[in-house]
């Protein structure tokens, strides 16, 4: 699917994404100031940033944060997801 009149995507999205980039930078500064850089979610976050150097960046960021195994777990012990895979091999 393609639009009839394709717009300039930098024109459309630059300011919005610029703000998100500064938010990411400020978040990283905050976590560092608070001494929380060893949190597995932050480690996963930093590792996922490597995907920004790939093709299909959105897909690869999501994959980096995903459980890539294929076996069912014995039982659900919680209902919530946390956004990063706690058991990811390092």
């Amino acid at each position: 699917m393609k639009p009839n009149e394709k717009q300039n995507s930098v024109e459309l999205y630059f300011m919005e994404v610029r703000a998100k980039l500064i938010d990411i930078a400020a978040f990283m500064d905050r976590v560092e100031r608070d001494g929380l850089t060893e949190d597995f979610r932050y480690q996963a976050f930093k590792e996922a940033m490597d995907a920004l150097d790939s093709d299909d960046r959105a897909e690869n960021v999501l994959l980096s944060l995903s459980d890539r195994t294929s076996e069912l777990i014995p039982a659900a012990t919680t209902k919530a997801a946390c956004g990063a895979w706690p058991d990811k091999p390092q």
Binding site: A58, L62, I73, A76, A80, A81, C82
Partner: protein, 268 residues
């Protein structure tokens, strides 16, 4: 514009939301059974919920001139208790004959556990035996990739199920292609933080088979936006899409899938 809201948990929303949706051009709303935010203590709670979805909520929506349809199941977040799940699944056939019921949903996986898969298989069997459409919830965040593959592989292995009658919801960039390549329909959920933004959903439309995709808000009792679907339509306009294409994505696509159920009718 006109649009269908194919996934909204209206029992958790106010009448202000109904008014806003109708004003924005919503022509029908579809409500899957889901988790209430707490575990129900018995099957009786589900019986009352199914009555709410098939009787009370359609009447509440009708006050705003909005046709309301529903899907029935025990959701995967309450599927760890197999005895409860069996009792709830046994209730469902009694409700399948009600006028606003579209099929079985939103079934699926949450944490990708063995019991969740057992209950998913039982729901799929129920759908096959009663020739019902299926709406599938895929897990959240880090569990989505694995869960989506497990779900797709399980349903594909059941020869009684036509993939064209199954919609697998909450797809994102890392799962959409797997779902579409297997012949299923896919749902793009516009949800703050944990699912897709409008911009990303349109990116996926541009890179996948847009003929078998719909967008929904999945608005519920959490932080969610009941007008997310018309907002996404506005984002498509901003990107240069014409009204005809927008009508196809937000009205004709969901109507095509949902019309496979005889109960679904809508006036354009």
């Amino acid at each position: 514009m006109r649009y269908i809201e194919p996934h909204a948990h209206m029992v958790s929303r106010t009448t202000d939301d109904y008014l806003a949706m109708v004003t924005a051009g919503c022509k029908a709303v579809c409500e899957p059974a889901f988790w209430a935010g707490f575990d129900r203590s018995s099957a009786h709670g589900f019986y009352d919920y199914f009555c709410q979805l098939t009787d009370y909520e359609p009447k509440r929506a009708a006050k705003f001139g909005l046709p309301h349809f529903s899907w029935l199941c025990i959701n995967p977040k309450e599927a760890e208790d197999l005895k409860l799940a069996d009792e709830v699944i046994a209730l469902i056939p009694e409700f399948l004959g009600r006028d606003n019921v579209l099929g079985i949903g939103e079934i699926g996986l949450n944490k990708n556990s063995r019991n969740e898969m057992t209950v998913l298989e039982k729901h799929v069997n129920l759908a096959a035996e009663n020739d019902q459409l299926i709406l599938v919830h895929t897990p959240h965040l880090e569990d989505k990739f694995k869960g989506t593959k497990l779900i797709v592989d399980m349903i594909k292995s059941d020869s009684r199920i036509d993939p064209g009658k199954v919609l697998i919801d909450h797809v994102e960039e890392h799962t959409a292609k797997y779902v579409m390549d297997a012949g299923f329909w896919g749902g793009l959920t516009l949800y703050p933080e944990s699912k897709c933004t409008s911009a990303r959903a349109i990116d996926i439309l541009e890179s996948c088979e847009a003929e078998r995709l719909w967008m929904n808000s999945a608005c519920d009792w959490g932080v969610s936006v009941p007008l997310a679907v018309p907002y996404a339509a506005q984002e498509m306009r901003r990107r240069g899409y014409d009204d005809e294409t927008i009508d196809k994505v937000f009205f004709k696509n969901p109507v095509k899938f949902l019309s496979q159920c005889a109960n679904f009718t809508v006036r354009g």
